[in-house]
Every structure is written in structure tokens, then in C-alpha cells.
Subunit: 308 residues, 3 copies
């Protein structure tokens, strides 16, 4: 397995063994991510953090990852200050940025832009989200969280809840979980169901898929993965309120779940999980957020060839 | 005295002895702040700099403080790029940010927000100003400036001048000076007088307070602390002009002052101090600005437990 | 030759020998800029990067330069977050910023602002472009590119193409090339010709100048320096299209040029050079962009006195 110089564009670019290797490297990064240990592994390296679309969480997580390993960061947090305004192509912006750095992390509103950037750049490109496209580091940190909290991924039963139609993260996650042989339940309002292609793809990979529209009978679920239902998806605000309310997780929802069932959420949440839930042992979402740091540390160290 | 893990929300959270300890630690930081000496004291640590309201001066001063000690910084300089736009609560934003760092510096337009953040965060929170609330690091750097320029704080006579009603910094400063047994003169336009509660509180602490509306008879003053009178406070621009003009410090104002009287200002100034004054020995405001760095270095090192 | 503490405001502040010295120091920085070698030369130093006008390219290049040498950066990328909004003068902003750093890089929309800042600041000021004024580091990286690609600058023949009237970079470059005894051809639309003063100045310095309005007969040119023709200069969009089209470099343009002729461009380009050209050996513009890093590393190390 050799990661040096590789781009990280889609979770589909990685085999199951490669994903497991990334998770194991991430595991070793945890004490450094917590600053219990210090590292100068990426001393002298520069990561360019190019956010053509704002995303504080992803950006800060990547920057913390680079800095915890002794590396440096340059970049921009929003598109307002770039040469793109002057009519520069993405290809030129990327080729310019790569003169200044060793690895590029980019987030861009346009699907396919990260792949295109990777064609032009000689330094590795890590996709921090490209519109309706991919967000592989979110997927990897989700897998890492299940693996770490549950000891393994295989054989677990995962429910994906909320907006499964438009939610960028859940399509990749469903694929990745199927790769690990995980049976899944897709729970969503009828108008926000998981696209048929994703359901079919998972089934073809040999896992059991159940499609539901209510939050009932979740007593056998090991991981409940909640996503945000966006107001903008509903023409009628009243309709949104009704739908969002019926998928809200609160203490009542948790009455008949497994004792060690964990709740995950890519965050930010608006109203999908009641703050009451935060204090329960089920709430894994803040640990999940933290996990973004060691996973991104692992990826940076791997593609820069500092860790094998 | 133990500062490790403590939040810095209000100057009132600190005893006189604790304040003096911070000033003494700051004193030792001066050569490092000037880059005459190098330090790696905070190597590997990350400070999150969360500015929900822009403030270049405070932000750059904190970031310089962290970097002079070998530490790293992540964060944002304005609210435009945060998840708050998506409806995230401050509590969630803070709990996310703390996964990425060892200490949080935050500035927020809403009074009380820093205290609330501190309730949710496990890492120390340093308040970089919360609206009409507190700005403890400004207060500490003001005290440090007087202590350093005058040798001690006790027994000095300080005049606070300008907008004493709305000025965030002067209320805390008046309290802190009273704590050190400093007699004060409050000079302001009648419509911008120091709130009665502040005057009463100071008097109860045992110091002499004089309330005036003219800049006359300042011959016994050791420190003249000038604040900005904001145009927005006056319905009539002509009225503002007249008022602002009568509190302006120029060479003429300085004719009958003590030879070693110093002028301080939290900056930015607009027109309150004539540029002529900059070249006089009285002008201490740029040294005061510099003092923000060693004071913030001291606080960072103390709350991170690297200095006792 | 002593660079310690010097400001870098205009290329005219430097003698030919001084420029050559900067280029030689830059040459030694190349392996560090590529991260083939590590350096801690500027460890503990802070550069303030004050961009009162956005310029991603210049900013990232300076920040990469500082960080490749182990130094730190604070600053802002756009004016929106500064005290200037509150009415602060540039002099005060600069004197504040210098309390936090060892060197200031500034870009400002107003001509003459860098020179003014240098009068107030005690730390060195490096001008990253001041409106219609100077952009000395662009000029130095252009010279470095020619020097490195061609082995020497003297005796080469350089064509400057495009908007020679308003283009900030080309006026300084013409002067600097004349200083090195380089014969030049100025090619531009009649309405965007090189100002007469610049032409006269170059001639007085003893070099041959040819002024043309077509892209023909460039068979004896060693360096073709292309600049952007801005739409805003033309009242009529159709007129712009016609003009811009007739100065566009494509494979056809390159049919009768010297085999080792190089094309340079300060970037960003919009449509002045066809992407086809990128793959030819003539295209030097991405190497030129990279050269900004070692040149800025050299300047930072020199003015901070770490390299002689």
C-alpha cells in the first residue's frame, strides 16, 4: 500500500484494506490530536487550504490536523479574495497555489471540481467537499468513529436518518458501510428518500437494506446516524416544521434503544437532536467531530509520504 | 495560585494578588514579545481565535502572543464564514471548536456570551470582548501599562476621559483601579457620564472619586486615560462635533500637566488626541498597544499551565 | 551591502548590484521553497501581512515564503475587518501592527501608501503593491525568472506586450530591464501604449526601445512578457474583444519565435494566452509564479538581517 502523492477525491478511490489502514494510522494520531503528545512529523511542509465555499468546521479541522503535526497552513476561507473574481480558471488557480505548498485541501461548490483540480496539480489534492459531489474525509471520520466506538464495523446495524436524498455525506457513507458488510435502515420522509441507485448499489454489494419512513422499531440498531433536514427543501414552512418534528431525536426516542447504541451527526445540527440527549451515553457526535482531526492527520501524513 | 484551566471572562474573577501575578508574568514575557529572546513554551498547542465580531487589534495581538511563544492558531476573523449562519447554537460551535484546540479566545457582540461559552467548554475560554460586557485582557494591559510606566499602581491619580457611559473598557478599568486603591477623576460630557453604579461601587471600595465635565485642573493627574466619543451616540452631528472638540487632547491641553503624566488610549483613536501629541513624552498609547502582547502571552501560558 | 532594517518600496530604491545580490540569495532559497530542504532561519519572527486590498497570489506567496523559513504570520486578507472602518489613520494602523511583528508586508489600493507607512514604522515595510504605484517584489521575481531561465539578464531582448499604459508591473519592469542594459520592444494597442516618460527614461539609460502595435516580427525576442488587457479600459465591449483577440498568444503566434524564447505573465491571465501554450517549452509563467517564493524569502531574510 502506498499513499504518497495520492489524491483523496472520493471514498470510492479506496479499497476496504486501504480504508482500514487509514483508520489504523488515525488511531495512532489520537494522542497528538489531543496534544497529550507532540509531533514535528510535518515540520516544514505547507498545506494550502482553499475554501471556495465557506465551511468553518472542515477548514478548522484540517488546519488543526496540519498544525498538530508541526506543519504550516496558507490559504483562504472564502472565495471573496481570490483571483477567480478576475476571471481566472480553476486550473490556473490550482497550478498557482501548488507553487506555494506541498498538499492542497479544497472545498468548492461545484461537483467534480476536486477531480478536475487533481488532473492539473502535481501535489496531492484532498477533497474537502465538492458541492453535491463527494466529501471523503467526512466519510472516513464517520467510519473511524464507528470503528473506534464499536470495536469493529463489520456486522453492525446502522440506521441513516433524515434527508437521505440531498445529503452529501450519506450517499458516500452508505456505499462505504456496504463495503464493510453493514446492514442498513434508511429512515426519511417520503420526499427525501435515499436515491434508488444508492439503494441498489448497496444491495448488489450484498447487504440487507430496509427503507422506512418512521422512527419506530429501532431497538436493534447499533448506530443511529442523523442528518439535517433543510428548510429550503420544503416549499411550505409549515410542512417543513411537521416533517422535521417527526424525525427529531429526544429522550423519548431513546427509551427502547440498545444500551450501547450511539447517535452520530455530521453537525451542525439545528433541531434534529434535542440538547437533552447530549448528556446521555448515546451522544457520540462531539467525539465524532474530534475524530475529524486524527483522520485528517493520518491522510496528510500518508499523502505526504511521511507515514507509510 | 493556580491558573491552569481557568477561564478569563471578567476582571472581577481575579483578586488583586492574582492580577499582580499576571502582571509579573507579563513582565517576563516582554523580551520574547519584542523577539529579543525566542521561546517554544507553547510549542504544539493550538489557540482557536473565534471572532464573531471583527476586531483586528485584539485578534492580531492574541495571535502574535500565541506565536511568539511557539504556539499555533486556527480560527476566523469574522462571523461570515461560520456554521452559525446555518442556525447552529453558540454552545455547539464552542464544543466543536474545542475539539480542535487547547484554548479558545472569543469575541462576540452579545453580552454574556463568553460566560455561556465557558459553561460548555472544557478548554479555557479567554474573553476578547463580549459586546457591552467585559474585555478583561484590555483591562489587564491597561493595568500593566500603568504599573510598568509608573513603577506601581497604588497611590496614583488617574483621570478617565470621554465616553464613560457606553465605553466597555472604562467600567472594568474603574473597578480594577479602585481595587488597587487609586483615586480617580471621571471627565465626560454630561450625557456620557460614568453610570452611577460604577461610581458608587468605586466609592464603596474606599477610593476618592471626582466627577467633572471639563478638561480643566488636571495638574495633579498621573495618568490621563482617553476614550473615543462615538458619533453614533449623538442624534445631531453638529452637537457631536462641538462635544468631541471640547475633549480633544492637544499640545495646549498639556501645558499645565505633571511632567511625567502619561496619556493612554485603548485605540483606535479618531480625533480625540492630536497627532502632535504623539512625539511628546506623555504619549504612552503605542507602548500600551504593545503591552497587549506580553499580557496575553502571560494569560495564555498561565491558563495552559505552562507557567505557574 | 546591508539590507537589515531596509524598506522595500520601489525597485528604484535598489542599485543594480543590490538587485543582483537579492537574486543570488533567492537562488539559494530555491531548495527550501520546494521543501527539498528545511530551514528555521526565521524561527520566532512574525511577519504582519496587511492586505487593505485583496490579492490572493501575492499574499499566499509571501506567507509561504515566511513559513518555509520557519517564521510566523499574522494579518488580514481584506480591509473589511480593520479599524480603518472606525476612522483610524493608516499611520496609527501601521504603528499598532508593528507592535505585534518584526516586518510588515502591505498591499494598499492607494498610491504612495507604502512609502507613507515606511515613514511611520520602525520595522521594515515591504510593499506588496500600492495601487497604481509600485510592486517591487513582482519586479524582482520577474528579473529572477529571466536571470534563472536565461543564465543572465544583460544582452537579452525582451518584448512587453498588452496593457502598457495602466499595467502596474510593466513600468517598473521596463526601468529595471533598462538598468540591466536590456533592449526592449513595447507592443500594445495604440490606446494602451507605454507612457512617454517611461520610454524616454529607458532611452536615457542607454537601451534601444522599439514601440509597436502588432504582434508580428518577434523572431529575435528572448522573453515575451504578456500582461492582461482589462475589459474595464474599453467603453465598448466589442472593441475590447477585438483588441484583446489581436494580442492573444496561441500556438500560431509561436511558429516563428526563437526555440528558447520564454513567455512570462504576472498572472492571473484571462484569455491572453491560450491554454494550448501551457504544454510548450515556451511557457515559463508557472515557474515564474513559483519564483515569487524564493525571491520573497530572500527579501524577508535580508531585511530581518538573518542573511547578509
Amino acid at each position: 500500500m502506498n499513499f504518497k502523492g495520492r489524491d483523496v477525491i472520493s471514498i470510492k478511490d479506496f479499497s476496504k484494506d486501504e480504508i482500514l489502514h487509514i483508520l489504523k494510522v488515525a488511531e495512532k494520531m489520537v494522542p497528538i490530536a489531543r496534544s497529550d503528545e507532540k509531533s514535528k512529523m510535518l515540520d516544514g511542509y505547507i498545506m494550502a487550504s482553499l475554501f471556495f465555499e465557506p465551511s468553518t468546521r472542515t477548514r478548522l479541522s484540517f488546519e488543526a490536523a496540519m498544525k498538530r503535526l508541526g506543519g504550516n497552513v496558507i490559504g483562504f476561507a472564502q472565495p471573496g479574495t481570490t483571483s477567480i473574481q478576475k476571471g481566472e480558471t480553476l486550473a490556473d488557480t490550482i497550478r498557482t497555489a501548488e507553487s506555494y505548498c506541498d498538499v492542497i485541501v479544497m472545498r468548492h461548490p461545484k461537483e467534480g471540481s476536486a477531480r478536475m483540480a487533481a488532473e492539473f496539480a502535481e501535489v496531492p489534492i484532498i477533497n474537502g467537499g465538492d458541492g453535491a459531489g463527494h466529501h471523503p474525509t467526512q466519510c472516513l471520520l464517520d467510519l473511524f468513529t464507528i470503528w473506534k466506538e464499536k470495536g469493529k464495523i463489520e456486522g453492525k446495524k446502522v440506521a441513516l436518518l433524515g434527508d437521505l436524498k440531498y445529503g452529501r455525506t450519506v450517499h458516500s457513507l452508505a456505499y462505504a458501510l456496504a463495503l464493510f458488510g453493514v446492514d442498513m435502515v434508511f429512515i426519511s420522509p417520503p420526499e427525501l428518500q435515499m436515491p434508488k441507485e444508492v439503494v441498489e448499489e448497496c444491495k448488489e454489494m450484498g447487504v440487507n437494506i430496509e427503507v422506512k419512513s418512521t422512527l419506530e422499531d429501532i431497538g436493534d440498531i447499533d448506530v443511529l446516524y442523523v442528518t439535517r433536514i433543510q428548510k429550503e427543501r420544503f416549499p411550505d414552512p409549515e410542512e417543513y416544521k411537521k416533517v422535521a418534528g417527526s424525525y427529531r431525536i429526544d429522550l423519548h426516542t431513546l427509551k427502547n434503544v440498545k444500551e450501547d447504541m450511539i447517535i452520530m451527526h455530521p453537525l451542525p445540527r439545528v433541531d434534529e437532536i434535542s440538547p437533552d440527549v447530549d448528556a446521555t451515553k448515546h451522544a457520540a457526535y462531539f467525539r465524532q467531530t474530534f475524530n475529524g482531526v486524527p483522520v485528517r492527520m493520518a491522510l496528510l501524513a500518508l499523502v505526504l509520504g511521511v507515514v507509510k
